[in-house]
């Protein structure tokens, strides 16, 4: 996608930050608008997440504490000290099933530039616990903008020689990293039909498979993520072909694990998104259990998928 950022909002307190100056220099035609605090621009109720999505603005800001969070029960925790951090709010991709649409009032991209404040806090928590599993792409796709912002590289350097596993979950193909034992690439894959219909601006399946092969060749053992599994009307046929294709190209012995789960969402977020996004994903028959919207026949869908997965560590979420 063409990231032009016609408007870049910058907090006054970071106008002289060198990193900020470098980012601004990449967008000489953008309108630079000074703001007091990113929330002044990001939080107002009178914005449209949906309308902004095709003309995203960039907001450069300084994050205030907290800098890291414990992961939610809705994703896999792997039995470790699973934390996540938010170097960026929102994402340049536009996936119909993304919960951020129901969470934020704005789809503008907020990039926090006070990296050292993040590092200091992670260091403090790490020293207390002794090990961490840290996702920096938990509710964004940080690698999707790596060529522009270089955030993942900064984090990769930070965790070098520490007992911190750094998860880079992505749909992108920006994987230009030297082998590093504690970097965990987690590639989200979907059938081409799902990508075309529901994952706007993301790389095609073929490109993602190619990226996975590349990191395997460098020595990484990536995680493959099939989440969310979308129950298309002909989903059995589509997912059978898809999984056959994936594992005919990627030797499952070279991957760390498979993470999989069906489409599910907090019901409040589901309702908000349904009002603003015209996507058939929100018009399937669902049931609501404990405030979570999920497929009525979720068990059947999962069973079908499990039968198609190779003999490798599997994590159902």
């Amino acid at each position: 996608m063409n990231l032009r950022f016609r408007h870049i909002y910058v907090e006054k307190r970071i106008l002289n930050n060198e990193y900020v100056k470098n980012i601004l220099a990449k967008f000489p035609k953008a309108e630079i608008i000074e703001i007091n605090h990113y929330k002044d621009r990001f939080n107002p109720y009178y914005q449209s997440f949906r309308a902004q999505k095709d003309a995203q603005s960039l907001i450069l800001a300084k994050k205030d504490p907290p800098f890291i969070y414990e992961a939610s029960e809705l994703i896999q925790k792997l039995g470790v000290n699973f934390f996540y951090t938010t170097p960026m709010l929102n994402c340049i991709y536009d996936c119909h099933y993304c919960f951020l649409q129901g969470m934020y009032p704005s789809s503008n991209l907020v990039l926090f530039v006070n990296f050292n404040d993040f590092f200091k806090e992670v260091e403090r928590v790490y020293e207390n616990l002794g090990n961490l599993f840290l996702s920096i792409s938990y509710d964004t796709d940080i690698l999707a903008v790596e060529n522009l912002f270089g955030v993942a590289k900064k984090w990769a350097d930070f965790v070098k020689d520490k007992n911190i596993k750094l998860e880079l979950r992505t749909k992108s193909v920006n994987i230009d990293f030297e082998y590093q034992e504690n970097l965990v690439f987690a590639f989200s894959l979907s059938p081409e039909t799902v990508i075309e219909r529901y994952e706007k601006y993301t790389p095609k399946l073929k490109a993602r498979i190619k990226a996975i092969k590349k990191v395997i060749n460098k020595g990484f053992k990536p995680v493959i993520v099939f989440d969310p599994i979308i129950k298309l009307p002909n989903f059995k046929e589509v997912y059978k072909d898809f999984l056959q294709k994936v594992f005919s190209e990627i030797n499952y012995k070279n991957i760390e694990s498979i993470v999989y789960g069906t489409f599910r969402m907090n019901s409040t977020q589901f309702k908000i998104i349904k009002k603003q996004l015209l996507s058939d994903i929100y018009y399937y028959p669902y049931s609501v259990k404990n405030g979570i919207v999920e497929y009525e026949d979720k068990e059947e869908v999962i069973k079908f998928i499990e039968n198609l997965l190779p003999d490798v560590k599997k994590i159902f979420v």
Binding site: R6, H7, E31, I33, I35, N36, D40, R41, P44, Y46, Q47, S48, A51, Q52, D54, A55, P233, L278, S279, D280, Y283, Y284, P285
Partner: protein
């Protein structure tokens, strides 16, 4: 319809002439054609907010624009701007491509004859605060033309014509580029619900199903069987709308 709020008739006259707007008799001075409704608010934030509220409550407005003159200590007289920030705290959302320059503006309570700002007017904040009660920020715009470099003066019609007329073609193009919210036609679900006397919850389920069909470009089934009882009829209808 596009709504336009002008503080003074003098600012509005070039638009009224160019778009051939006719005065209609209402409490406010309103000028209209089929696509545009223009209201004269009077000076100041409060007047602007009242007129904006009146227009948005009484007309079907998809995009609203505050059009007028502004003072500036630095820009040239006659330059036109689309506003991207008001008083450092309100942000119109300019998501469309346009040919204007952009600027922030300060909205003052009284006439300013000096200060550290780029543009100044007396209506923008009132207009914007009223408009966001009705529309999302990407349907709210402010177009300002620099009329003075903060000298006190009384513009006459000739001055305003010379100031505004050179921009009218671009303003018209801008109006035509504005987008309306798309609405999906779910009248079929309404009709079926009425015909078979469906409950509210059944109607909502049917609406979801019709929506699914529309989003997938599926041919909508014809529902024309004899009415029996609500439960059976609903089951039969949903069978016709299979996923």
């Amino acid at each position: 319809m596009i709504g336009i709020i002008c503080a003074y008739l003098k600012e509005a006259k070039p638009l009224i002439k160019y778009f051939d707007l006719k005065k209609i008799n209402e409490k406010f001075s309103i000028y209209e054609n089929e696509k545009i409704s223009l209201i004269i608010s009077g000076q100041g934030k409060l007047n602007s907010a009242i007129a904006t509220t009146y227009l948005l409550s009484t007309k079907k407005i998809s995009n609203i624009i505050n059009f007028g003159i502004a003072g500036s200590p630095e820009f040239k007289i006659g330059e036109i701007f689309l506003i991207n920030k008001i008083n450092n705290k309100f942000f119109p959302d300019i998501l469309i491509s346009h040919t204007f320059r952009e600027s922030e503006i300060i909205c003052a309570d009284e006439v300013k004859i000096g200060g550290e700002f780029k543009l100044v007017d007396m209506e923008s904040e009132g207009f914007f605060k009223a408009a966001i009660k009705f529309l999302k920020a990407h349907h709210i715009y402010l177009i300002k033309i620099v009329s003075d470099n903060l000298e006190c003066f009384k513009p006459d019609d000739k001055f305003m014509d010379e100031l505004i007329n050179p921009h009218l073609e671009n303003i018209e193009k801008f109006f035509y580029s504005l987008k309306k919210e798309k609405k999906t036609n779910l009248s079929l679900a309404e009709e079926i619900s009425k015909k078979y006397n469906l409950s509210f919850s059944q109607k909502m389920q049917l609406k979801d199903r019709v929506m699914f069909y529309l989003l997938n470009n599926r041919k909508l089934p014809k529902i024309d069987f004899e009415k029996t009882n609500r439960k059976n009829d609903f089951r039969r209808i949903m069978d016709e709308f299979k996923i």
